[in-house]
C-alpha cells in the first residue's frame, strides 16, 4: 500500500507539483528569512569580534540613565582624554589605545550626503598610535590623517564612489561640512559593514568636529601577559569615572552584537510573519487542491476498497502522499530560501536598509524549522480531504461518475461556520473597541480574530459563490459571448471548489487592503495635523527627515536677511519618574511657527508637558520637574505650560524643556525639526537664499510646508511599499491556487471540452472560457477580501488609537484591476492546456 501511494505520487507529477508550489513559496520565505537574519547577525558578530580581537578589555561611556550605551548622540557620554594615560600607567596594562567617535556622513561629488542606509561612522584617533594592533581600524593603503584637513575613508566607499588617496571629499559630523584630502583607505574588521561609510580624522580634528574637545569614547586595553582577565577589569574599574564602564573584549563584542540583534530579531519576526501568512494561504490552496484530486480519484479509492483495503489504509495512503509532497516541497523551499535571502536583502537595500553580512549562514535550525513546518502544514491541510477519501464506499467502483460523498460533518457546516464567524467577530470587536484592554492584548485579539475570520469566511463562501458569480460574471457573459456565459456557469457549478480557490486570494487581498486603509488613515491624519500646526514658511530637517541633525544648520539660518524666526525642536533621552523617555527641547519662539493648543493657565513657553502626561503624574503649571540626563547631571525645571498635542503626530514629546537648558545638559544637542519664518513667505527667491546659507550643511534640507509633508510621509510610503511587496508573496501563492483548480478542472472536464469542441467551439473560445472562469474566481476573491480588509482596517486603526478612517478608493480600484490581471495570469497555463486538447481523444477520455 505504501508503494501504491508512492507510485500514485509519481503518476500524478503535475498535480503533485501544483500542490507543492504553495508550500515551496511559504517555506522559501521562512528559510530565506532565517538565512538572511542569521547572515546579518554573523556579520555583526564577526565585525565586533575582529574590532576587539587585539584587546583584552574595552572601556566605553556609560549612560547614567541606562539603556543604549552606543556612541549615539545624547546617549552615552564621552569621558576625559586623560583617562587613557591613567589606564596606560596601570601596573597590569601592557598598552592601551583610544578614539573618539560620532556619526559622520561623507559628502558625494554631487554635494549630497552618501546615506544609502546604515549612515556613517566617524572616528578621531592618534596617528602615531594608529598602527597599533589595538586599533580596530586597519590601513589598506595610503597613510593615516595627521592634519586638520586630512581624512581616511573606508574601502567600500572608495571602491563604489571612486574616491582614492589624493582626492578631496566632504564630511559632516556635528556641525558644518568641510572638505578634506584623502590620505588613506581603511577597513573596520573583515566583514562587510553594509552601507555604512567610515571617516577617520586625527584625534584633534575628530574631537573638534565632533564637539568632544579633550574627550574619548573608547579605550582598548591590552593586559601584560599572564594577567588574569578579572584582575585587569578590577584594576581598570578602580580608576573609571561614573560615566565610563569596562568590559572584557569578548563581553563587549557580545554586548555590541546583542544590541544589533534586537534589531535583526525584529526584522526576523517581521519577515517570518509574512512567511506565516504565505503558509496560511498555502494551507488553503493545498486543502483545496487535495480535495479536488481526491474527488477525481473516487473510483480509484473505491476499487482499492473492493480489493480489500480498509478505510485506515486509504487514509494512510493519502496522508503519506501529503507528507511526501509536504516534505519534498519543504526541501525545495528550504533551498529556494537561499536565493530568496539574497532577493530579500536586495529588497531591503532598495528600501534603504543596508546591513552587514558575513558569508551565508545556513543554520541547522533553519533546516529543521523549514522541514518540520512545511511538512506539518501540508499534513494538517490534507487531513480533511484524507478523511473524506475514507468515506468513499466500495460500490463507487462500479458506478460511473460516482461522486465523493459529503463529509459526515457537512450537515454541521453552516452552524459551525456561523459559530466560528461569531467567535471571530467577537474577538475582533473586543480587540477593536474595548478600550480597557492594553494595546497588545487588543492587537493579539485582532490577530487571532483575523485568522479565525478568514477560516470562517472560507467556510461560508460556498453559499455566496453562486450569487457573486452571477453578478461578477455578468461583464464576462456580456462581452465574452457563449464562452463568457459558460465560464460563469462553470464558476457556479462547484461552489465549494470556487469558494476555496477564491478564499485563498481573499486572504492576501484583505491584508493588502488593511495596509492600504491604515496607510491612508495615517497619511490623512498626518496631513491634517501638519495643516493645523504649520505656521512657518519653511521646515528644516535632516535629508531623510527623521534622523536628528546637528544644531549648526539651524544656527546658520539665523543671520540670513529676511529671516524673522528660526525655532527648533531638539530630541534626547532623560529619566523621569524612574522611567527613561524621549524628551524634546524648544524655545519661546516656537508658538510663532507652530500652533500649539495650550491648556488655559499656561505660559506659552517651555518647559511644558502634554496633557496626558500631566494627568498621569498629577502635574500642573508651576509643578517642579526633575530630569536625569545621560551625563549623570540632574535638571530641575518648573512647568510653565501644558499642551494638548494633536493626534496625528506632534513634534513634541511628553516633556519639552527650554533649548538653553537642553544644550547645557547634552554634549552634542541635535535638532529633530527647525521651523523658519521669512519676510514674504515661501518664495523661490527665499528658498534659494536659505539653500545658499545651508551649502555647508549637506545633511540638512530646507522644505516648504507641502515638501515637508511629502518628506515626512515618505517613511509611511516606504513601509507601505515594503508591506505590499511582502504580502504579494501570499497573493502569488493564491494565484497558484487558481492555477491548480483550473488545471484540475480541465482534467476533469476533458470529455466535456471535447464535446464543446465537437459542436463547434473554437480553441480560442475554449481558452477564453477558462480565462473568464479564472477572472470570475479572482473577482470573487476580491469581493470577499476587500470589504473584509476595509472593516479590519477600521478596527485595527481604532485599536491603535488612530481613528482617521479613510477608504483609499483609488488604491482599491487598483486592487480590483490587479485581481482581474491576476486571474488572467493564472489562466494562461490551464487555458493553453484546454485549448490544446485533441477533440477525438478528449471525447474518448475516461
Amino acid at each position: 500500500m505504501i508503494g501504491v501511494a508512492l507510485k500514485g505520487l509519481l503518476g500524478r507529477k503535475l498535480r503533485a507539483c501544483l500542490t507543492a508550489v504553495a508550500i515551496v513559496l511559504g517555506i522559501a520565505m521562512v528559510s530565506g528569512t532565517y538565512v538572511l537574519t542569521d547572515t546579518i547577525k554573523a556579520g555583526f558578530s564577526g565585525l565586533f569580534t575582529t574590532v576587539y580581537q587585539s584587546a583584552d578589555a574595552v572601556v566605553s561611556g556609560k549612560s547614567a540613565i541606562g539603556g543604549g550605551d552606543e556612541n549615539g548622540p545624547g546617549l552615552a557620554p564621552s569621558f576625559q582624554e586623560s583617562l587613557l594615560g591613567q589606564v596606560r600607567s596601570l601596573p597590569d596594562v601592557a598598552d592601551a589605545g583610544g578614539n573618539v567617535a560620532y556619526p559622520t556622513l561623507l559628502v558625494g561629488r554631487n554635494g549630497k550626503v552618501m546615506a544609502s542606509g546604515g549612515g556613517g561612522l566617524g572616528f578621531g584617533l592618534d596617528p602615531k598610535r594608529a598602527d597599533d594592533a589595538l586599533n580596530p581600524l586597519k590601513l589598506v593603503s595610503g597613510s593615516w590623517p595627521k592634519a586638520g584637513n586630512q581624512i581616511a575613508i573606508d574601502v567600500a566607499t572608495s571602491d563604489k564612489k571612486d574616491f582614492s588617496v589624493g582626492d578631496t571629499i566632504g564630511a559632516v559630523a556635528s556641525g558644518a561640512a568641510h572638505r578634506y584630502t584623502i590620505t588613506g583607505i581603511v577597513k573596520l574588521g573583515d566583514a562587510s559593514i553594509g552601507g555604512t561609510t567610515i571617516a577617520v580624522f586625527d584625534l584633534a580634528t575628530g574631537q573638534k568636529i565632533f564637539h568632544k574637545q579633550g574627550k574619548l569614547d573608547t579605550i582598548y586595553v591590552k593586559a601584560k601577559s599572564g594577567v588574569a582577565p578579572a584582575k585587569l577589569l578590577d584594576e581598570v574599574r578602580g580608576i573609571l569615572p561614573q560615566t565610563a564602564q569596562v568590559r572584557s573584549a569578548a563581553a563587549q563584542a557580545k554586548h555590541d552584537t546583542d544590541n544589533t540583534s534586537t534589531f535583526t530579531s525584529i526584522i526576523q519576526d517581521f519577515l517570518l510573519a509574512f512567511g506565516g501568512i504565505a503558509l496560511f494561504v498555502g494551507s488553503f490552496v493545498i486543502a483545496n487542491t487535495l480535495s479536488i484530486t481526491i474527488a477525481q480519484r473516487t473510483r480509484e479509492f473505491a476499487t482499492l476498497r473492493t480489493l480489500g483495503a480498509t478505510r485506515r489504509q486509504v487514509l494512510r495512503s493519502v496522508i503519506l502522499e501529503a507528507l511526501l509532497i509536504g516534505f519534498l516541497a519543504s526541501v525545495v523551499g528550504l533551498f529556494a530560501g537561499l536565493g530568496l535571502a539574497k532577493l530579500l536583502n536586495q529588497l531591503f537595500v532598495a528600501f534603504g536598509i543596508d546591513l552587514p553580512k558575513a558569508s551565508t549562514v545556513f543554520a541547522t535550525r533553519t533546516i529543521v524549522v523549514s522541514l518540520v513546518v512545511g511538512t506539518l502544514v501540508t499534513l494538517l491541510a490534507s487531513l480533511r480531504p484524507a478523511i473524506r477519501a475514507t468515506r468513499v464506499e466500495p460500490i463507487a467502483a462500479v458506478r460511473e461518475g460516482a461522486l465523493l460523498p459529503p463529509s459526515r460533518l457537512a450537515r454541521f457546516g453552516l452552524p459551525f461556520a456561523l459559530v466560528t464567524s461569531a467567535f471571530a467577530i467577537a474577538l475582533l470587536l473586543f480587540g477593536g473597541l474595548d478600550g480597557s484592554a492594553s494595546t497588545k492584548q487588543r492587537l493579539i485579539a485582532i490577530g487571532g480574530g483575523v485568522l479565525i475570520l478568514f477560516f470562517s469566511v472560507a467556510l461560508l463562501a460556498p453559499r455566496v459563490v453562486r450569487p457573486l458569480a452571477r453578478v461578477l460574471g455578468t461583464p464576462g457573459a456580456r462581452l465574452g459571448g457563449p464562452a463568457g456565459r459558460l465560464a460563469r456557469q462553470n464558476a457556479m457549478r462547484a461552489p465549494a471548489r470556487t469558494a476555496a480557490t477564491a478564499s485563498a486570494l481573499m486572504i492576501g487581498l484583505a491584508l493588502v487592503t488593511v495596509v492600504a486603509v491604515l496607510a491612508a488613515g495615517l497619511k490623512n491624519r498626518f496631513e491634517s495635523s501638519v495643516h493645523a500646526l504649520f505656521q512657518a514658511d519653511y521646515a528644516l530637517t535632516s535629508q531623510n527627515g527623521f534622523i536628528p541633525t546637528g544644531i549648526g544648520s539651524a544656527k546658520a539660518l539665523v543671520g540670513v536677511p529676511g529671516v524673522q524666526v528660526v525655532s527648533s525642536v531638539r530630541a534626547g533621552q532623560a529619566k523621569l519618574f524612574g522611567k527613561r523617555i524621549g524628551i524634546t527641547g524648544t524655545d519661546a519662539e516656537m508658538p510663532k511657527v507652530i500652533s500649539i493648543d495650550w491648556v488655559p493657565g499656561s505660559t506659552h513657553a517651555p518647559p511644558f508637558v502634554s496633557k496626558d502626561f500631566a494627568k498621569k503624574h498629577s502635574l500642573h503649571v508651576g509643578s517642579p520637574l526633575t530630569l536625569q540626563v545621560p551625563s549623570g547631571e540632574t535638571l530641575h525645571v518648573t512647568i510653565r505650560g501644558i499642551i494638548d498635542p494633536p493626534k496625528g503626530g506632534s513634534p513634541f514629546s511628553d516633556v519639552t524643556i527650554p533649548n538653553s537648558v537642553f544644550d547645557g545638559a547634552y554634549a552634542n544637542p541635535t535638532n529633530l525639526y527647525s521651523f523658519v519664518k521669512v519676510d514674504g513667505g515661501a518664495t523661490p527667491a527665499n528658498t534659494a537664499r536659505l539653500d545658499a546659507a545651508l551649502r555647508t550643511f549637506p545633511d540638512a534640507k530646507i522644505q516648504t510646508e507641502s515638501e515637508f509633508e511629502k518628506n515626512q510621509e515618505k517613511g509611511i510610503t516606504i513601509l507601505l511599499n515594503l508591506l505590499y511587496v511582502l504580502l504579494s508573496l501570499s497573493i502569488i501563492v493564491s494565484l497558484f491556487g487558481i492555477v491548480n483548480t483550473l488545471v484540475l478542472t480541465v482534467f476533469e472536464r476533458t470529455r466535456e471540452l471535447g464535446m464543446l469542441r465537437a459542436v463547434g467551439m473554437s480553441r480560442r473560445q475554449v481558452r477564453n472560457m477558462i480565462r473568464h472562469e479564472s477572472v470570475v474566481t479572482a473577482l470573487i476573491g476580491a469581493a470577499l477580501g476587500i470589504p473584509i480588509g476595509i472593516g479590519l482596517g477600521a478596527l485595527v486603526g481604532h485599536a491603535i488609537e488612530y481613528p482617521a478612517f479613510t477608504i483609499p478608493w483609488g488604491t482599491i480600484v487598483v486592487f480590483v484591476i490587479a485581481a482581474v490581471v491576476a486571474g488572467l495570469l493564472a489562466a494562461i497555463f490551464p487555458a493553453r492546456r484546454a485549448g490544446r486538447l485533441n477533440v477525438l481523444e478528449a471525447l474518448q477520455y475516461e
Binding site: G3, V4, T306, A397
Partner: protein, 254 residues
C-alpha cells in the same frame, strides 16, 4: 441442457458458497420509491459459473451489488462461505473481501500508475501477503500476460487490461468472483477471448463465479443462467446456447 422450473432454487451440488434468501431492495421513500428487488433467493454452488441476465433496470446489478456486499438489502440475507454478510460492519466486510471476494469490472478499474504485475499483486499487498511464486507465474501465463508484466494500463489494449483485472481477481483465490459486465467495454472478438478466459478459470481452478451481463453470448458460457425481470428471478437455464438465451430475453422484453 436442462430447463429447471422457474423460481425454484437449484439444489446445492458441490457445497453452496453463496446463498441469498428473500432479498428485497427498495430505493427512496414513499410515492417515489423504487423496488429494485422484490424477493430473490438463490444458491451458488462451489465451482459453478452463474450468469445473471436481464434487461436494464431489471435489478440484476442491484442483485450483484448485494451479493458482493457492496450494497445492503432492505430485507433478506446473504451468506458467503457460511457467513451472514448483510449485518457486517465495514471492517468485517473489508476482511471478507480480502479473503473471499474477487471483482472484475466493466471499466477494468486498474490503477494507472501501477504496472500490470503490480496491479495483479495489489490485493495481496493490501492484505500484507506475499504471492506464491509458482501460482502467480502460472496465473500470468494463463491470462496471457507473461510478456506484459511491466506495462502500464495505458500501454495495454482493452482486452489486455481486462486480463490484468481477471488475474488480479484470481490472485487471492477468492471463494467467489463477481464479474460485472466484463465484456461490456470490449469489442466482440476481445470480449469472446475474455469469456473464454473466465470459463477457463472456472474449469482450471474451480473458481466459483457470478457474472452479470446483458450479452447472450456471455451468458452462454455459464453453467446456469438466471433471468431477472422487474426485481424477480423469472427464468433459469442450464448450459444454454446463445439462441436459447436470446429467446428467453425476447420473451422478457415483450
Amino acid at each position: 441442457m436442462a430447463v429447471v422450473e422457474e423460481g425454484a432454487p437449484a439444489p446445492a451440488q458441490r457445497g453452496t458458497v453463496v446463498r441469498a434468501q428473500e432479498l428485497t431492495r427498495r430505493y427512496g421513500e414513499g410515492a417515489t420509491a423504487v423496488e429494485a428487488l422484490r424477493g430473490v433467493s438463490l444458491d451458488v454452488g462451489a465451482g459453478e459459473l452463474v450468469a445473471v441476465m436481464g434487461p436494464s433496470g431489471s435489478g440484476k446489478s442491484t442483485l450483484m451489488h448485494i451479493l458482493a456486499g457492496l450494497d445492503k438489502p432492505t430485507t433478506g440475507t446473504v451468506e458467503i462461505a457460511g457467513q451472514e454478510i448483510t449485518t457486517l460492519d465495514d471492517r468485517a466486510l473489508t476482511l471478507l473481501r480480502r479473503k473471499h471476494i474477487g471483482f472484475v469490472f466493466q471499466f477494468f478499474n486498474l490503477l494507472p500508475m501501477l504496472t500490470a504485475e503490480e496491479n495483479v499483486l495489489l490485493p495481496l499487498s493490501i492484505s500484507g501477503q506475499r504471492p506464491e511464486r509458482r501460482f502467480f507465474d502460472e496465473l500470468l501465463e494463463r491470462t496471457g500476460l507473461g510478456d506484459r508484466r511491466t506495462h502500464r494500463p495505458s500501454e495495454l489494449s482493452g482486452g489486455q487490461q481486462q486480463r490484468v483485472a481477471i488475474a488480479r481477481s484470481l490472485v487471492t483465490r477468492p471463494t467467489i468472483l463477481f464479474a460485472d459486465e466484463p465484456t461490456g467495454n470490449l469489442d466482440s472478438k476481445t470480449g469472446g477471448e475474455i469469456l473464454e478466459l473466465l470459463r477457463e478459470s472456472v474449469d482450471a481452478y474451480g473458481q466459483t463465479t457470478v457474472m452479470v451481463t446483458h450479452e447472450a453470448r456471455a451468458a452462454a458460457i455459464a453453467d446456469r443462467v438466471l433471468f431477472i425481470g422487474d426485481g424477480l428471478i423469472v427464468r433459469e437455464l442450464r448450459e444454454a446456447t446463445p439462441q436459447q438465451v436470446l429467446d428467453v430475453m425476447a420473451g422478457l422484453d415483450s
